[in-house]
Subunit: 582 residues, 2 copies
């Protein structure tokens, strides 16, 4: 070992010991008579000291030649520092260097290896191996490791088996676009990389594995939005002989365990909300409940008072920004500009100030009397000092816009503390979504999700109304994971494919292996998957997943460090029986 | 939960308890007045009992309709059995059924779900979800889970971080053939699936991660031999600031831990052998040392006695099959036939029987006097009753053939007990191998392996003689893992690529990202990777890895269960800018 200790472990009680440390030069301070080196490794920073006269001239000369990020090994005695540094755990001691070896020289790094770096995103991606040396990135990867270790510990204690499912599987046109892998041995044929191990984990239930999990890479060839990666990691789980309630308990238990073990945070019992309520009160299926500001629908009190915008609207709905009645014209204009942005899409914003003196001021007070405005305040339970903000229009679009406004306001008001965690189960999702472009239903979750028994009759009469045994776990307005009780009956699965517009032949061709398996004693089963990259970000109170992935790709799906994808040899193409279209 | 207990946990002390069990019907025995059902799940088998008169008629009728592999749920009281079954842990009790629910009907399975099944390989692969229900396959997957859990526990305790490296990387023509993934967003460009995370784990060392591991899928598009899979799993590890000795200690510790925790076997300290000795004494680089039968070279005592085969041979070498002097003509002929098989390739076999009466009998005694044959016996340390078997010819080929004969004989003699484990480190591998077809050197391990410092001078004068800081861990004649101290210096890496026939431009184009990284403070580092599928097989004393993989592919690289690879949509091809050659 090129060290006896790491750069993070020596303390005052080690004084007198002779040690060898190895690491990177963080900083050199040369005061002429004395020279200090901050030596860094993954575990911390330890100060080395050399002294003119006391230290060997050859060693001093090596030390004077050092620059940032050189790799060195230093041997010497641990001594007590004369001026201690309380900011680092090793701050009481330093190493009086007796031997110093330069293990590898470093060029000047293209950005500083500090917590706050001067490196831009693309530069940091290109030199990711330097970026990872920075504490924020390294600790992000350490957190990820800790979460995976604790996840496995918890699931193992509940008899879950980690089973590896294949990466070279079969392409199915349903759902998102697959990455495919040409088969050389079967010319003209392709494997696909899994978007999730969904069908395999269900087959493992048919196989009697009973409880399965896997921390597994998944792949989706989508046009990348910011913070989407073509490859991402799931904690994928499935259980047999369970009800929805068992799944909720088990995985609420997992997340509670993780918050407890990794962050020392005690989560409360997770509240539960139906999808319908989430849409009604928060305008989205993953409400952030760190703050209240629930939607109040106003159709019954605002219509037919002569204000054409409200009269013609399908939905008039508002929120109460408590304590904001003193908002200025400028602030209100900014909110109006916010909701009118194309990605929000509202046509305007109506406000009602519940002034501190008990009067009301609204942008529409020429249509509504003070008595009528008082009624508005009443339905919101608003008090003096509150500000009511109202949007109107088509129901879905207006809810979506108001949801954005709600989050935006909460950010402004500091109601979204990243150190506060409010988990939530959202239940009873619709089974299907109508796609207006393709004029057909799509599975809201996926085609293997079971309908609620109470809604069986609607399957043929009004499929759009059918609720699913599907659930999402949401924390702080972010979907952490989701799952469902699955279909385990061949006939129901066939009906589901038929509702989705598959012919029997297409269904058999693409998913025959699963439907056949259902005929050989498939147990009732249910499961769930967590987005692991996202989970890491949530645990850190961060928005972006990128720093929780060791080697992420950029928004064009490129790895700029290794410069991939890239062209391949003509010979390779020939072997694969492929030609690139010009 | 559709059960209160599993089918493996009820005991005599649970008598009187009302329970619900769910599982698969293993067997129904209907004796008219009484009816028993063996109910099976992952955890075991519990007997259900129904009695004419005592049990509800409707329930009896359900029970009589059951057949193998139906999925049922049964409620009833735990009672003591009148005739106990000592072969199963639940054999003291049975469940007197009060409620019985058929959860899912099963068709007759295509093969029996028993430890010894009547299903052939292809059938078992097609219905893998049924095959996994069989105890031998399920326990193989359980062993795999246990090994992965204990591996992580050990490495975590030594500060290794599990870091996920990317699956969509860059194709490099060096080494085995890559699977490639066309990029839709970058038409004409491809990702490659990793053959190992080698370069990424080295970059993690440059990044200061210090200790890395990953249990990770790797991919190789090779023509499949029996028991090779296009996707396979590695336990991949790397450490910084270490010597070769540290790596050997750490991973010897891991394997010792695994044998101890998973099999309750205490391994001894691993002996070490150089590659040169392994080749000299065992004719292969992964000797099975459960038995001795070392090679003895005979050139100095057999030449120039008039036997042309030996006189013209580059190498005459033999083994002593202790206690086999009574082998019959037929047995000796069978051994001769064995070595003459094309895949072994020897031209003949010479024997010397050291008879029990002290005389010698050899197939070549017309060329060698009894005194000379006594000399043979002496160099082998053979005693009366031993049988010496000798091959001759080109050195490499003859060693290889004798190695096969040695293993074959040991199998015949029962010297390869699968319950005995003899680990071994093989050290000092050659850095390079000469490829006669391509007239150039290839890296024996991979191009990132460092040469031994003592052999630096040979790098330019005689590269074929250079030994590497490379090591393999061998157990029972199987390579469990291997690794090396890596090059961490840009110039040495460049020299290595140049010896391998890369132009500077090719090296920079393919591995520039790594060589650039070496310029920014790369620490000395070393590592190793274990074949995880193989490890599972070794721990079970099995030869084939297939049953340790949940969903393996067949020898044509096909998943016959999901029928993959398969053709993809014309639209998908178009999106990828690809045409299939006719």
């Amino acid at each position: 070992m090129l060290r006896t200790n790491t750069c993070g472990e020596l303390r005052i009680e080690n004084v007198g010991k002779t040690v060898v440390l190895s690491g990177w030069v963080q900083k050199v301070r040369d005061k002429g008579g004395m020279l200090w080196i901050d030596l860094r490794d993954r575990y911390g920073i330890t100060q080395l000291i050399l002294e003119e006269g006391k230290s060997d001239a050859a060693i001093l000369s090596i030390a004077r030649g050092l620059s940032r990020e050189d790799v060195v090994s230093a041997e010497g005695a641990v001594i007590e520092r004369s001026s201690k540094n309380a900011n680092i755990p090793t701050g009481d001691i330093e190493i009086l260097v007796a031997k110093l070896t330069l293990l590898n020289k470093s060029k000047t790094p293209p950005f500083t290896i500090e917590d706050d770096t001067d490196g831009g995103d693309e530069l940091r991606m290109k030199y990711r191996y330097l970026d990872i040396r920075r504490t924020p990135v390294r600790t992000a990867l350490e957190l990820r490791h800790r979460l995976s270790i604790e996840t496995r510990k918890y699931l193992d204690s509940f008899n879950f088996l980690e089973v590896e499912t294949p990466y070279l599987i079969k392409s199915t046109p349903e759902g998102a676009r697959d990455f495919v892998v040409p088969s050389r041995m079967n010319p003209g044929e392709f494997y696909a990389l899994p978007q999730s191990p969904q069908t395999f984990k269900q087959l493992l239930m048919v196989a009697g594995i009973d409880r399965y999990y896997q921390i597994v890479k998944c792949f989706r060839d989508e046009d990348l939005r910011a913070d989407r990666q073509p490859e991402f990691t799931q904690i994928d789980c499935e259980m047999s002989f369970v009800t929805q309630e068992d799944v909720l308990q088990t995985f609420e238990g997992l997340i509670t365990h993780l918050f407890n073990k990794v962050l020392n945070v005690q989560l409360p019992t997770f509240p539960r909300m139906t999808y319908a309520d989430a849409m009604t009160y928060y305008g989205c299926d993953k409400p952030d409940i760190r703050f209240d500001m629930k939607f109040v629908e106003m159709n019954s009190i605002v219509k037919e008072k002569g204000f054409p915008v409200f009269d013609s609207a399908e939905l008039v709905v508002g929120i109460n920004a408590s304590g904001c009645s003193e908002y200025t014209r400028k602030q209100l204009d900014a909110l109006t500009d916010f909701v009118k942005k194309p990605q929000i899409g509202a046509t305007g914003l109506v406000y009602l100030k519940c002034n501190l003196d008990g009067t009301y001021k609204s942008s529409v007070d020429k249509f509504y009397s003070p008595e009528e405005l008082a009624k508005w305040a009443a339905v919101f339970g608003a008090k003096a000092g509150d500000l009511i903000l109202v949007l109107a229009g088509g129901a879905d679009k207006t809810r979506k816009a108001l949801s954005e406004l709600r989050l935006h306001l909460a950010d402004e008001l500091g109601l979204r503390d990243p150190k506060v965690f409010k988990p939530l189960w959202v239940l009873d999702f619709p089974l299907l979504e109508w796609n207006e472009d393709e004029k057909r239903f799509f599975a809201m979750h996926h085609p293997f999700t079971s309908p609620m028994e109470a809604d069986f009759a609607l399957m043929s009469s009004d499929p759009g109304k059918v609720r699913a045994n599907a659930y999402d776990m949401v924390i702080n307005g972010v979907e952490l994971g989701g799952g469902s009780v699955r279909i385990h009956n061949r006939e129901l699965q066939k009906q589901m494919f038929s509702i989705l517009g598959f012919t029997d032949e297409e269904a058999q061709n693409q998913f025959g292996f699963l439907m056949n398996a259902f005929e050989y004693g498939a147990p009732p089963h249910a499961g769930l998957a967590f987005g692991f990259d996202r989970m890491c970000a949530i645990f850190s109170g961060k928005d972006s997943i990128r720093d929780f992935i060791a080697f992420p790709k950029n928004n064009s799906g490129r790895d700029v460090m290794i410069d991939s994808p890239s062209v391949i040899d003509a010979k390779q193409l020939l072997d694969l029986s492929l030609t690139i279209n010009k």
